[in-house]
C-alpha cells in the first residue's frame, strides 16, 4: 500500500527557489504564474495494513519528514474500504 506525504514551505517562510522558478516561467512567456512554492513529495510503500501504523506515520511526518518550524505537511492515505 502506498501513502503520500506532501511537504510545503509555510506561508511565512520565503521560498527563493519558488521565486526563481516563477521568474523562469515569466521569461518563457507564462506570465500567469503569480507565485510558485516548492516543496517535497514522498511516496511510502507500506508493509501490510495501514491499521496500527497511521499514528506512527503521523508522528514521523511531524518529527522527521517535515520541520514544523518552516514547513507544513499533508499525509495522503489511499481511500481504502477493505
Amino acid at each position: 500500500m502506498k501513502v503520500k506525504v506532501i511537504v510545503t514551505p509555510k506561508e511565512t517562510v520565503l521560498d527563493p527557489q519558488g521565486a526563481a522558478v516563477r521568474e523562469a516561467m515569466h521569461h518563457l512567456g507564462f506570465t500567469g504564474a503569480r507565485e510558485v512554492r516548492i516543496g517535497r513529495y514522498l511516496e511510502i510503500e507500506l508493509e501490510g495494513d495501514l491499521a496500527g501504523q497511521e499514528g506512527k506515520l503521523r508522528e514521523l511526518c511531524h518529527d522527521l519528514l517535515s520541520n514544523p518550524v518552516i514547513e507544513d505537511y499533508r499525509l495522503e492515505l489511499p481511500n481504502e474500504t477493505k
Partner: protein, 236 residues
Amino acid sequence: MKFAVIQFPGSNCDQDCLAAVRGLNGIEADFVWHKETSLKGWDAIVLPGGFSYGDYLRCGAIARFSPIMRAVVADAEAGKLVIGICNGFQILCEAGLLPGALVRNRSLHFVCEMATTRVEAAESPFTRGMPIGTLLRLPVAHGEGCYYADETTLRELNERQQVLLRYCDAEGKITSAANPNGSVENIAGICNRARNVFGLMPHPDRACEERLGSKDGTRIFESMLRAVAGDDRAAA
C-alpha cells in the same frame, strides 16, 4: 579540559575542529562517532560542519536522530557546553536544542567567503572577554544558512540576548549588504536560554591561524575553555 568532536557520516570539518581546539593550551580533543551513546568524560561538545547524511531531506534532519544525539541533548540539558558550527548549527535546530531553522540562502548561491560578525550579547560562555561590538572575522561556507524564526521566537531571542553574533560590515554596521545569506536580522549565531548551547553558521574552526586569514575563531574556543575552567574552580 576535553572536547568531543562528533563525527556524523558526511561531516567534513571534523578534522578542522579537532585541529583548532587541540592547538589551544589546556584543551584535549577526541573524535566521537555518531553511533556512540555516551559523552561522559568530555567537558564540551562540538558538532562540526559538513553535509551529514548528504543533507538529504533537510540539512541536519537525519543526523538529529543519530544515537549520539540523545547524549548531546541530555548533556546540553544538564548544562554542558555545546557548540554547533554550520551543519552542526542546523543539527542543533533540527534537534530542538536551538529555536528557529536554517533555510536556503536568499540568493540561492552557495556562499564561501570571509564574513565579519559582531558580538551582540554581553554574557555567554562563548564570548567571554568579547564585549558587545567586538568584531570577529570568520569564514562562511554554506548553501542553507539563512536563519529563520517566527516573530514570537525572534522577539524572545532579542529580549533574552540570545543572539550572540550578527553579520556586519567592516565597521561593525549591521547592513543588508553585509548579510551573506538573507538571515533574518543578520543573525549569524544564537544560543539557547540557558546559554550553554551555541549554534553559528560561520566557521571559527577555519579561523584559528594567521595564515588562514584570521585567528578570531580561537577566541570562541578559548572562551569555552575559560568558562569550563571557571566552573571547575567554583565547584572545587
